[in-house]
């Protein structure tokens, strides 16, 4: 007891970082995600260091930065693919410390992958059904014995999968093998599959990669549509600046694992540190 008291008296007080901005409509809500001094080291290399970000309940946020800045590493930290070596991630106020990828997913984090990770040998519909895995449940024996619950749940699952595929007008592709889809459709399917898990925060890793300007435009509209329809927060990594500046409300710029700027699209575009990171330093004289 005395030890504890002594310990407390030694505690150094630090301010909680609250420099992040959230949309005005979300100000009174618990932020869907908050990171505190988040960091990870790989054998002495600080891949991400002192990463502080707050995302509002219905915010569309962007994470940008030059190649190798650590953006995907941040995603891997948020989804528990990596365990952080310092700091904490809070989802709806709940600490993710020590959780597995599956547990994080159940708390409402869903993601897409930079290098597409679909279930290639399964059909498009089955891919979405995997997303619905924890929404629509029945046990193994119900499935093997084909009890009435099986038929009811399967029907329900099919209906829900079709509704979700309809977001991107992909209902016609439901029976195709996922691996045989064109690149753009695979990216869209990943988003649908992530949405099927009923997330509170959707992480999109370069959703517009490999898309033409027309498709990117369409994607931008769809991202906004998804946010409005599902009332969720979206954090996206993207190199296509037209998409980031067009749809993101708050933007966070990462370079060498550290945040160098946070703000709205206009603020970011005018920020000298960002311009330097992307274009290099102006030569003196």
């Amino acid at each position: 007891m005395t030890q504890k008291k002594k310990h407390r008296s030694d505690t150094k007080m630090v301010p909680v970082p609250s420099h992040s901005i959230v949309p005005e409509r979300d100000v009174n809500e618990i932020p869907v995600m908050e990171t505190r001094h988040l960091g990870i080291e790989f054998g002495g290399l600080k891949a991400v260091d002192d990463f502080n970000l707050t995302i509002g309940k219905t915010e569309i946020a962007g994470l940008i930065g030059p190649n190798g800045a650590g953006k995907t590493t941040v995603f891997n930290l948020l989804t528990k693919v990596y365990e952080p070596t310092s700091g904490a991630v809070l989802v709806n106020g709940q600490d993710l410390h020590g959780m597995s990828i599956v547990q994080a997913s159940r708390l409402g984090i869903a993601r897409t992958f930079q290098n597409i990770r679909l279930f290639d040998k399964m059909t498009v519909e089955e891919n979405v059904r995997i997303g619905l895995h924890n929404q629509i449940k029945y046990d193994m024996f119900t499935g093997i014995l084909r009890l009435p619950r099986y038929w009811k749940q399967e029907k329900h699952q099919h209906k829900r999968a079709m509704e979700l595929l309809d977001i991107f007008g992909m209902q016609d592709l439901a029976d195709e093998t996922a691996g045989s889809l064109p690149y753009g459709a695979q990216r869209r399917l990943e988003i649908v599959r992530a949405l099927a898990t009923d997330p509170k925060l959707l992480l999109l890793d370069e959703p517009a990669a490999g898309m033409n300007p027309h498709e990117t435009e369409e994607l931008m509209e769809n991202i906004a549509k998804i946010r409005d329809q599902f009332q969720i927060a979206i954090l996206l990594i993207e190199h296509d600046m037209s998409l980031v500046m067009g749809v993101c409300e708050g933007i966070c710029v990462l370079n060498f694992g550290k945040i160098i700027a946070k703000g709205t699209a206009d603020e970011i575009q005018a920020n000298p540190a960002v311009i330097e990171a992307y274009l290099g330093k102006k030569k003196e004289g």
Binding site: T79, V81, S100, I101, V102, S105, R106, A110, R111, F113, R117, L118, F119, D120, K121, M122, T123, E125, E126, R129, I130, G131, H133, N134, I136, K137, Y138, D139, M140, T142, G143, I144, L145, R146, Y150, Q153, E154, Q157, A174, D175, R193, A194, A196, T197
Partner: protein, 360 residues
Amino acid sequence: MTKAKRKRLIYNLVTFGLVIGAFIILENMIAAKAISRSLKGQLVPICAWIIMAVSLNLVIGFSGELSLGHAGFMSIGAYTGAVVSGWLVAAFDMQDPILRLVLTILAGGILAGIFGVLIGIPVLRLRGDYLAIVTLAFGEIIRNLVNVLYIGTADGNLHFAFLNKEMPANVTMLVDGAKGAVKIKPISTFEVGFVLILITLLVVLNLVNSRAGRAIQATRDNRIAAESMGVSVTKYKMMAFVTAAVLAGMAGALYGLNSSTVVPTQFTFNQSINVLVFVVLGGLGNVLGSIISATFLTVLPEVLREFADYRMLVYAVVLILVMIFTNNPTTRAIADRLFAPVKKLFHKDRRETAGGGDVK
């Protein structure tokens, strides 16, 4: 009904149809005595190997883990079968062979399942080829264990020992160390084997087309993505592995009670590889293929008895040929060209029927 659903239904119907059709034909042949003695003796082993192949396909084809100790589960089933069958006679004087067979098959399945859980718990949490290594070791450990295992009944009680001299004097031996399980009364019948195949098909095909089965396949295709979707990878890999172990144990009991002795050398690493060959030859994830290749490769050595020495050589050649034909672009192109007229016919046919549907 969607296209994928219809395709799956047709596949399942063909699979069940083939098995039931073959059963009816064979039953009639047996009744008409139009079947050779050696083939008749092969019927129950064929059933057992089909169940082995289909269950291993669940692990390798659907959950994507390599298991090299499937014969180990089979041997657990076979020995459990011999012991339980002998014990039921000694302790309860149970004479009804069918009831005894059913009970022993259940016991074999359950015990193999328990071993499946014990192996699966530590190994399936790891990534990579650990399962292959551990199951390989497991198969050998089981073989060596039963080599020194003595089980017998005395006054209706079961006695276990690892040394012969520890057994009571008035014991009737059921498992006699390296001599294996002895004095088994063969009670396996083709009919029970057939029913067991149907149960296996029902379990595997229904499992694959359900929520759990899709999760199993998702963990095979992409582990990280499956986890990100909230699918507990360990749980579903375990489910596939243990289900396969239970089915293999049942097949083992059926196989063991088909002859008067079971010896440890029947279930070596070579037998595990044999089953693996059935699965690879029939196609990963292809249940119908497993059934056909298991049947074919079990009958073939009997038919070509005089060439039995070359069997392993032929196996190797066949496996290499299958790999070449399924993965080599050149041979694929040649095969495509060869089958093009047939495919064209089929496609044309389909387009016409589709057109007909539109007019209506």
